[in-house]
Amino acid sequence: MMTTQIETAPILIKNLTKDYESIRAVSDVSLEVEAGTLVCLLGPSGCGKTTTLRMIAGFEEPTAGQIYIGNEEITDIPPYARPTALVFQSYALFPHMTVYDNIAYGLRARRLPRKDIAAQVAEFIKLMELEGHEKKSPSQLSGGQQQRVALARALVIRPKVLLFDEPLSNLDALLRVRMRGEIRRIQQRLGITSMYVTHDQEEAFSIGDRVALMNKGKLVQMGSPRELYWEPADRFVAEFVGLSNIVPGEVLQSNAEGATVRVLGGTTHCSRPHRSNSGMVSVVLRPEALSIGKPGGEGIPARVVTLAFTGPVARYTVAIDDGTVLTVDIANPRPDQFFEEGSSVTLFLPKEIPSLLE
């Protein structure tokens, strides 16, 4: 049993802003990564997530704001003096050095005694299951192995904070799923504070304790994957995190127990109270929360526009009388219960919805 220990510390970012000439890449971002947790920075490309990460690593200078690791401010410290280690998207393994020399690089920079270096490199080679590859050059390794070397090289310097910049984007789909499980396992075993940048929502949800969603340089919402999914702060979050139908609704009445909402001609209930007693809102209807059945009965009349069968899910788009088009996912569909394109159906709204948008 490995007993590798790493002294870790929380990351605290206060009002971080970064301007490139006229473009504001990161705008007034404040967030905290609690000690030992992994936070995913999620967002579309160009949203400022990588810039934020690179400011923590020290490769970009903030225009304003502060960065702390533990109690210490590191905003103006050069990258080599920061207690951070970054796993690069391209791995950035030194092509003119062996696997061993790559992993030992940070320890040599710290002028550790040769014996200590050998022992520590061996420890992480074992942790990353790289035994037997020490003498190889990085180009002789597979993508997954290169990823492990990059991780070992970052961990061996025992950083207080581990940073990942889309580390899996160079791997194929299957290996990506396996490696993200491995990264999560090692992160949890070492209990090291980590920040992980990705544009892949599934990846972010599967490994992050919390997810920080960014858009146009701003931090839009930060919370657990469940919070982001069921209680999106705004329309952008609802659309970026999973597929959603966003339709207008009207709050009929609201009290401490929740709100009754009129939507698409039917009504549904939201268990969380709504601020205004009545008024127009946007309602997020997740495709999997909707269902369809044979025409007639207590639902909304609709017509099937398209049907796509993926195996576990039958995905319909249906149109209702006022022209609104909605996506409906029927999970675990039965072979005899398909509705062909053009047929009339009844659309059923969920009885409960988790939250409402302004």
Binding site: E61, D76, I77, A81, A85, S90, A154
Partner: protein, 633 residues
């Protein structure tokens, strides 16, 4: 107490330590600037007047400022400006590197060039104020306008001919199945390694008034090689190789499938050539034409040797400055020379910065072999063959001439001419010191600037890039004049010192060293350096362990290129060297004018051998073929 101090240092946060380091660096820099300031500006007591009262003589002194206050102000600005960037401020090494580069470029590139302009608008030596009097004087001299129009006409003619010739030869060498292409390639670019004026000297040996071919073989009497025709011929031989190199690499890198697509869509071979192939290589042809134009109008050695009194700007400027001691008129002439060269440079810069369709690589040696009609093949083959034959003839005559008693008269073998080189030992030593020194200095500056401009984002980067490349457009004569004006007098007295010659060559040849380094840097993934920094290696360690090992080949290529160019330079050397620092090319030039052809040939042959050795070393170091070595230039 020291113990307490140390322990309190340990308690500082990393942020505070950082500020402490920056503070210390700034203190040291302040001291250095004050020291330089004291050297640059000195107050001297000079005799004001002498009063005589009876037999008592009273001498009155007054204090006078001696030195160069504007340069001191520029240096101070160069040190302060980089401090504006937070990124630079944060890292002492980066700060020092940027400051050093900015100060170096300001003092040794911009300042001497600015001096040429300032001097040209003065009325006379030590005069104050601004006037166009020098240009009026220029206008009054018909010889000056003759020199200007001569230079332009000659530059355009050479550029046009060299571009056509070079393009055809490059096409032949890359796209036809001519046998012996490998050797022909070496032969046709061989003139790059010798000083240009060695070519005109060899021309004189063969085709001069008493030339081997014109006099001894053909007994022609009315023939005259001296004059513009001689200059053009000599420049064609020395400038065409550059065109061949540029066009060869473009021809080999044309994506064959583009032409195939055009043929597939129904284009006839000529139509494809006109609509696909030619547009792809046009930017390279224009670049080659502009570079040969700059090279031709800057040429100093060939017009001096073979011009036969044909007036050119570069030679006129030399005569005004060195023989007439008229600094201001020389500077005005230099300006006339700089302006067209600079315009050509800007156009070339603009062309290469536009979107390029062809990536220039040095990998492939031959392109796709195209089918040609026999008459075209015959024409291309004989053209290439003739060029190679002429090169063999010219260089052959240098080596044969060096080995015989008296070229053209007595062709018995002798070692006398080679032994005569012993008298040139001091100049050989001087040239080696200067060339090795400028190679190393220029190589280091090149790699640092390349690292700054290709890796770092900071304000003023464009200005640094421009200042570092502008020398490419400045004729050697102008560089020489600028350095004399800027550093000849108090408080420097640098003219004729090894120091100033080394610095002049290092900065003059910087553009090419820089280009090789930048190209090499672009091959390296920037995250490698970031990974190193991230793992805790300092800037210096990162440079030593990651950056330099990955681009040391480019570094050595830059060093040897600058070495070769410094060994063969004449145009700056004639201004900057002095008795005890006389350079080999200057001595060689004098021997060529005053000595026998065989003595001159021995000097030229020896220089060519030194350069071939340098190229051989470079070839070994970089593991590339000998032909590839020419590409660095």
């Amino acid at each position: 107490m020291p113990k307490n101090l140390l322990s309190s240092l340990g308690e500082l946060t990393a942020q505070q330590k950082q500020r402490l380091i920056l503070f210390c660096v700034l203190i040291v820099e302040l001291a250095v600037v004050i020291y330089i300031g004291m050297k640059l500006i000195q107050v001297k007591a000079v005799v004001d007047r002498v009063e005589v009262a009876g037999n008592l003589e009273t001498t009155h002194y007054r204090n006078e400022l001696v030195g160069d206050p504007p340069l001191l102000i520029l240096i101070i600005l160069s040190v302060i400006v980089p401090l504006a960037s937070r990124r630079i401020r944060r890292e002492p090494i980066l700060l020092i590197a940027v400051q050093a580069v900015v100060v170096g470029l300001t003092v040794f590139v911009l300042w001497p060039l600015a001096q040429v302009f300032i001097e040209a608008f003065k009325t006379g030596y030590n005069a104050k104020g601004f006037s166009f009097v020098q240009f009026k004087r220029l206008l009054e001299k018909p010889s000056v306008w003759k020199a200007f129009s001569n230079t332009m006409v000659l530059g355009i003619t050479t550029s046009f001919l060299a571009t056509v010739l070079g393009t055809l030869i490059a096409y032949t060498l890359t796209m036809t199945s001519l046998p012996g292409k490998k050797w022909l390639r070496i032969l046709t670019i061989l003139p790059l390694v010798s000083p240009p004026f060695a070519v005109s000297f060899a021309f004189l040996m063969l085709f001069g008034r008493r030339g081997l071919i014109t006099w001894d073989l053909l007994h022609i009497t009315g023939w005259n090689i001296y004059g513009p025709q001689g200059i053009i011929l000599a420049q064609l031989i020395s400038d065409t190789p550059l065109v061949i190199l540029i066009l060869s690499s473009v021809f080999t890198s044309i994506n064959r499938s583009l032409e195939e697509a055009a043929e597939d869509l129904g284009g006839t071979p000529f139509h494809v050539l006109r609509t696909v192939t030619f547009p792809l290589v046009t930017p390279a042809i224009l670049t080659a034409a502009l570079l040969t134009f700059i090279s031709s109008i800057s040429d100093f050695g060939n017009p001096m040797l073979i011009g036969g009194g044909f007036q050119m700007l570069a030679t006129q400027a030399y005569i005004q400055m060195i023989e007439m001691y008229d600094l201001q008129l020389g500077a005005a002439l230099a300006m006339l020379l700089v302006i067209p060269a600079f315009i050509a440079f800007l156009i070339q810069h603009w062309i290469t910065n536009r979107k390029s369709y062809v990536t220039v690589t040095s990998g492939a040696q031959t392109g796709y072999i195209r089918k040609q009609p026999t008459w075209i093949k015959g024409f291309l083959y004989s053209l290439t063959g003739f060029m190679a034959f002429l090169t063999i003839l010219l260089y052959g005559s240098i080596f044969v001439g060096a080995a015989v008693n008296a070229w053209g008269f007595d062709h018995t073998l002798t070692t006398r001419n080679v032994r005569g080189l012993i008298t040139a030992l001091p100049q050989i030593k001087n040239s080696l010191i200067v060339s090795i020194g400028s190679g190393i200095v220029g190589g280091i500056i090149g790699i640092v600037i390349a690292w700054l401009v290709s890796r770092k984002k900071f304000p003023g980067k464009g200005a640094i890039d421009f200042s570092a490349t502008v020398m490419y457009a400045i004729p050697g004569t102008v560089v020489g004049i600028g350095y004399i004006i800027a550093f000849n007098a108090a408080p420097y007295f640098w003219t004729g010192t090894f120091f100033i010659i080394i610095i002049a060559y290092a900065f003059r040849r910087l553009p090419v060293g820089l280009r090789t380094s930048v190209a090499a840097q672009k091959q390296i993934d920037p995250t490698l350096e970031e990974a190193s920094l991230d793992l805790g290696a300092s800037r210096i360690r990162t440079f030593g362990k990651i950056t330099f090992p990955l681009l040391n080949r480019a570094f050595f290529a830059g060093v040897i290129y600058i070495f070769i160019r410094s060994m063969t330079d004449l145009s700056s050397a004639v201004f900057l060297n002095a008795g005890n620092t006389q350079l080999y090319t200057v001595r060689m030039f004098r021997v060529m004018i005053t000595g026998t052809p065989s003595e001159g040939a021995a000097f030229a042959g020896f220089l060519i051998i030194i350069i071939l050795i340098a190229l051989g070393i470079l070839s070994k170091l970089t593991g590339k073929s000998f032909v590839d070595m020419f590409r660095v230039s």
